[in-house]
C-alpha cells in the first residue's frame, strides 16, 4: 500500500461539510454588518439626528406651519385614493389571471410589470404629455375647469402608474398556488359568484392582500420623481410630503426638511414592522418568496 491514511494525533474540531470555517463566518458577518451600518442604519439615524438638532419643540413647530400641514393632508389624500383603486385592480387582475385559462396571459402579466422598468420621471412625463396644457385634451380640460396636470388628478394618475403592479404581484402567485378547487366547491354548494369571492377567496388571500397594500401605500406616500414632474409643485396646493422635503431642503430649512423626512421614516418603520410581522405570522399565506 502506497497510500496511508494519516490520522491527526489530535482531531480538529468537527465541522459539518455544509458550512465554512468559523473565522470566515465571522469575517463575512462582519462585512455585512459594516456595509449595512454605513448604508442603511447611518442614514436612518441621521434623519432623526438632523430633525432634532434644535430640539423637539423646534421640530414640531416646523410641522405646524400651514404649508407643511397641507402637504401632509395632500399625501394622505393621494394614498387614500390610490391604494383602494390599486387594490381593486390587483384583485381583478389576479382573479382574471389565475381563475381562467386564456390566450395572451403571459403578455398581460409582462405589461402589468412594465411600470417597474420605467423611470418615475418618465412616468410623470407621460401624464404631462397626455393632459398637460400643451396637448389638445389638456387645453380643453383646463378651459373647462378640470385641470389634471398641476392638480390632484395628475398626482393620483402618476402615483397609480408607479404603484400599478404592487398588489397584483402579491396576489397572483398566492392565488395560483391555492388553485381553483375551493371556489369550485363553493359553487357546487350553491354559492353565487360574489358569495364565493367574499367567503372563500377573500379570507384566503387577505394577508397577501394586506402585504401588497402595505407596500403600495409606502410607495404611494413616498413617491417623488413622478409627482415632482406632474404636480407643478404649487406650494400649499400640489406639494406632497416628499416634494415639501425638497423645498425646505433647497431653502436651507434643514430642520423642517428633516422633520418632514422623519415623519416619512416613521411610516417606513411602521410598514417594515407590519410587513415583518406578516412574514413571521402568516408565512404560509404569502407568496413563496416572502417566506423566510
Amino acid at each position: 500500500m502506497t497510500d496511508t491514511l494519516t490520522i491527526p494525533s489530535r482531531p480538529r474540531a468537527f465541522r459539518p461539510a455544509t458550512t465554512e470555517p468559523p473565522v470566515i463566518r465571522r469575517v463575512l458577518i462582519g462585512v455585512c454588518l459594516v456595509v449595512l451600518t454605513v448604508l442603511l442604519f447611518a442614514p436612518l439615524i441621521a434623519v432623526f439626528d438632523e430633525a432634532l438638532r434644535q430640539g423637539w419643540a423646534f421640530a414640531i413647530a416646523s410641522l405646524s406651519e400651514s404649508d407643511a400641514q397641507s402637504a401632509i393632508r395632500l399625501t394622505l389624500m393621494v394614498a387614500a385614493i390610490v391604494v383602494p383603486v390599486n387594490a381593486a385592480f390587483g384583485i381583478a387582475a389576479a382573479w382574471a389571471i389565475t381563475k381562467f385559462d386564456w390566450r395572451g396571459k403571459a403578455w398581460v402579466i409582462t405589461l402589468i410589470d412594465l411600470p417597474f422598468s420605467v423611470s418615475p420621471v418618465v412616468a410623470g412625463l407621460l401624464f404631462v404629455l397626455m393632459f398637460g396644457a400643451n396637448s389638445a385634451v389638456g387645453a380643453w380640460l383646463v378651459a373647462s375647469g378640470f385641470p389634471i396636470v398641476s392638480a390632484l388628478p395628475g398626482i393620483v394618475l402618476a402615483t397609480l402608474f408607479i404603484t400599478f403592479p404592487f398588489v397584483a404581484r402579491e396576489l397572483i402567485p398566492v392565488m395560483l398556488e391555492q388553485g381553483r378547487a375551493e371556489e369550485e366547491a363553493a359553487l357546487t354548494l350553491g354559492a353565487s359568484g360574489w358569495r364565493t369571492f367574499l367567503t372563500v377567496t377573500l379570507p384566503n388571500i387577505r394577508w397577501a392582500l394586506l402585504y401588497g397594500v402595505l407596500l403600495c401605500n409606502a410607495r404611494a406616500m413616498g413617491e417623488f420623481g413622478a409627482v415632482a414632474v406632474v404636480s407643478g409643485k404649487i406650494r400649499g396646493q400640489t406639494t406632497t410630503m416628499p416634494l415639501m422635503i425638497e423645498m425646505f431642503y433647497n431653502e436651507y430649512l434643514s430642520v423642517a426638511a428633516f422633520t418632514m423626512a422623519a415623519l416619512l421614516a416613521l411610516l417606513a418603520f411602521v410598514t417594515l414592522t407590519l410587513k415583518t410581522a406578516l412574514e413571521w405570522r402568516y408565512a404560509d399565506q404569502l407568496a413563496a418568496s416572502h417566506r423566510h
Binding site: E184, A185, T199
Partner: protein, 239 residues
C-alpha cells in the same frame, strides 16, 4: 335520479379531452368511471357537475335537459380530489356552507342548520370534530368531511373525483365500505372517478372503462372481467 349523457364532447384548445360519448345511468346506481390519467373521466365528471361546459352534446337529468343548468342550480354533491375544504372555516362551517348560501326564503334557521350538520357528522361517524379546522384532520377524516359537506345540500346526485386517491391502503379499504354504506342509505345516484381497477370492481354496480377520451366498455364488474370487449380493457383490468 337517472342521468343521460348524449354525444358529449369536450375540446381544450386544439386537443380533444372527450370524443362524443353517450351513456345512460339508471337512478340509484353506484357507477365507477375507470381509466388511466388522460382518459377523460374527470372531464366527464366535471361536465356532469357543471364545472365544465361540453363543447357539444346534452346532459339530461330524469329526462329534462340540464346542459345549460348553472353549477349552483345543479345540486350535484361534488367531492374534489384534494377535498377543497375551506381552510379558514371549521368543519361545522364547512358543512353548513351550502345551507347558508341558500336564498333567504329557502335557508333553514340556524338551529335547523346545526341539527342537520350534526346529523351528517354522525352519518360520517365523526360526531366530535365540528369545531376543528381542516388542517387538524387526518386525510381520511378530511375525505369524510368533504362527503358530508356535499351531502348537506341535499344533492340530486353524488359525484366524487378520485375519492380515495390521496389515502394510504388501510384507510382506503375502510372508506370504500363507508361510501358503499352512504350510497345505500341515501339511495343517491353516485358516480366516482378512479384509476384503480380493484376499487372500481369491488365497489361499483356499473363500471365505465374509458381511454383516450372514449368509452371502451360499460357493464357490471363481473361482465367486464369475464368478457372484456377490447384489447385495452383486457390489458387494463388485468394490470
Amino acid at each position: 335520479m337517472n342521468i343521460e349523457i348524449e354525444d358529449i364532447a369536450k375540446q381544450f384548445g386544439a386537443t380533444a379531452a372527450l370524443h362524443p360519448v353517450s351513456l345512460f345511468i339508471p337512478s340509484g346506481t353506484l357507477v365507477a368511471l375507470l381509466g388511466p390519467s388522460g382518459s377523460g373521466k374527470t372531464t366527464l365528471l366535471r361536465i356532469l357537475g357543471g364545472l365544465e361546459f361540453p363543447s357539444t352534446g346534452r346532459v339530461l337529468f330524469d329526462g329534462t335537459d340540464a346542459t345549460g343548468l348553472t353549477v349552483q342550480d345543479r345540486r350535484a354533491g361534488f367531492v374534489f380530489q384534494s377535498y377543497a375544504l375551506f381552510r379558514h372555516m371549521t368543519v361545522f362551517d364547512n358543512i353548513a356552507y351550502g345551507l347558508r348560501a341558500r336564498s333567504r326564503k329557502s335557508r333553514p334557521a340556524a338551529a335547523e342548520i346545526a341539527r342537520r350538520v350534526n346529523k351528517l357528522l354522525d352519518l360520517i361517524k365523526l360526531p366530535d370534530i365540528g369545531a376543528r379546522y381542516p388542517s387538524q384532520l387526518s386525510g381520511g377524516q378530511r375525505q369524510r368531511v368533504a362527503l358530508a359537506r356535499a351531502l348537506a345540500i341535499e344533492p340530486r346526485m353524488l359525484l366524487l373525483d378520485e375519492p380515495f386517491g390521496a389515502l394510504d391502503a388501510k384507510v382506503r379499504k375502510e372508506l370504500r365500505q363507508g361510501l358503499r354504506d352512504i350510497h345505500d342509505t341515501t339511495g343517491l345516484t353516485t358516480i366516482f372517478v378512479t384509476h384503480d381497477q380493484d376499487e372500481a370492481m369491488e365497489l361499483a354496480d356499473l363500471v365505465v372503462v374509458m381511454s383516450m377520451g372514449r368509452i371502451e366498455q360499460v357493464g357490471k364488474p363481473e361482465d367486464i372481467r369475464a368478457r372484456p370487449k377490447t384489447p385495452f380493457v383486457r390489458e387494463f383490468i388485468t394490470a
